[in-house]
Amino acid sequence: MGELTKGEQKLIPLLKSARFLIVDPTSSRKSLRSLMSDFSVKPDQIEVVENVPDAMHVIEGRTPNVFFVEYTIGSQACFDMIRIQSERLEPGSLRAVFLITTQDSNSMVTSAATENVDAIIVKPFSFGMLKDRFCEILFQKLAPTPYVQALDKGRLLLKEEQFDEALAVFRQARTLDPKPSLALALEAETFQARKDHEEALKCYEEALKHNPSHFRSLLGSFDSYLALGKNDEAYVSARTLAQHHTIPAKRIPDMIRVSINTQHFEDLVGFYQTAGDLSSMDESIASHLGAGLVICGLHFLKRSNKDSAIDAFRKAEVASKQNPRILMRILQALVSAGLEAEMKSFMSRVPEEIRNSPDVQMAEIELLKKTGQNLRALEQSLRLIQQGIKVEKLYEIAITVSIELKRKDSLIEDLIFKAGNAFPDKKPYYESLHVKSTPPT
């Protein structure tokens, strides 16, 4: 495609024995092949595949040193392949990962950067841009500075769980850079691996003195504080992280959790509002947000702030896109609080298949009982039993309500018989319900 500069030519002998894999389900392979050809990489050094199973087959066999992967293959698949490549390569051997994508959102880039992607090639790219990035990364890998060399050595020792040796190397590395935040963060990670979070935090603190917004140190100190149960401190670290960086998608559930643990429920409302502006959001994040908003609602209920609770539940319903698990939690909360009108309104919104599910019908029966509507509770319980629904609590309610309504003993005994057949180990309990309620003669 073009001539190489003298500097670029230095890469040729270094790449002679490297293995390359291009996972390209769409279109970039032509440009990548031209790039390889410029660096005299032989065709038998390059594998080109179009899908994940074929890529996995190559990675598990002739694990590539240099890996180009198109993001359209799926983020999880990309990150899994990168992890396996890293695990399978011989320690100390060349490893470089290039992710090719049209997507350039900060969220995607940050997530990729935390998954050991070395470079992202943004489409459409110019061949010059592709070559420059390729050379830059490869030179970093093949001719590292003494600081990077020391960090790589320490990482390897850490991976092999030689903690004392890793610590010594990272401490030595500190002296090789005027702002050794990364060396300190890796030292901290070694302490974390030993579950010595107090020492880890000291290293992170030192790293943050050199760079107060150091990504790895803020995220690491968040983890150590959480491990020590220091939620307030973890919250402060996470807040600083969010102020300076994009939170990687897979860590967002942790942020939701720490907001809940520290009772910063307004965070979840703010999260919900921002999420509402986005056309799409990762399903697991949406589900965590929904669950967090339910907890938020429960908190408001505890404080008798009914309106805020209902608002939080409504938001949870929307955020989780009516995830059945979230809907059930909301329903249980409304039942426990005896909020009948709100439950009816909620029930009118939920999809029919969820409304007719045994779990939801059970929740309705519990609410009827709780609000003194025993006859209706009994009718619905008997209907479900007749339908063959087997739930321990259903029989318990049917029996106790029957007793309270003073139904004939023979009918109650028939219910106890059926309950005993459905749950043999609970038979004595069901029998005790009737005995206990029999007035003394």
Partner: protein, 135 residues
């Protein structure tokens, strides 16, 4: 960013390209539903992934590229680039698609320079973000 937010809408801002293609030589249009991909750019042209039926060597193609910023709720900054290009190379990618190299025939040089500049800036900002996270 308000203090109580873990995520910012701008973090989810991503760039998309809508590309429409008409073959001027054969007077046929490439179906809008076809997956067209903008792969590579250079000073005098670009490389697109197109269906094999989109054209042949020497054909003239009229292309419209609309660059959009998805997830942007306000002040959308769409950018449109129209040009006519000559097919100078076709490389088979798969059974039904080719990487088609086009050389500009009629185009606005300034618009294209801006497009190239913006592509380079996108790459640079991604490089900077990776460095910030990994350093």
């Amino acid at each position: 960013m308000p203090m109580n937010q873990w995520i910012k809408a701008k973090d989810f801002l991503k760039t998309t390209f809508e590309i429409s293609v008409k073959n001027v030589t054969t007077h046929t249009s490439v179906a809008a539903s076809t997956v067209i991909d903008l792969i590579e750019v250079n000073e005098n042209g670009l490389v697109l992934k197109l269906p094999k039926s989109a054209g042949a060597l020497g054909h003239l193609l009229m292309i419209r590229i609309v660059r959009k910023k998805e997830q942007q709720t306000k002040n959308s900054t769409d950018f449109t680039f129209d040009f006519t290009g000559k097919v100078i190379a076709m490389d088979a990618l798969e059974a039904t698609a080719s990487a088609v190299s086009l050389q500009f025939y009629q185009f606005n040089e300034n618009d294209w320079k801006n497009f190239l500049k913006e592509s380079a800036e996108r790459q640079n900002s991604v490089n900077a973000l990776i460095k910030k996270v990994q350093e």
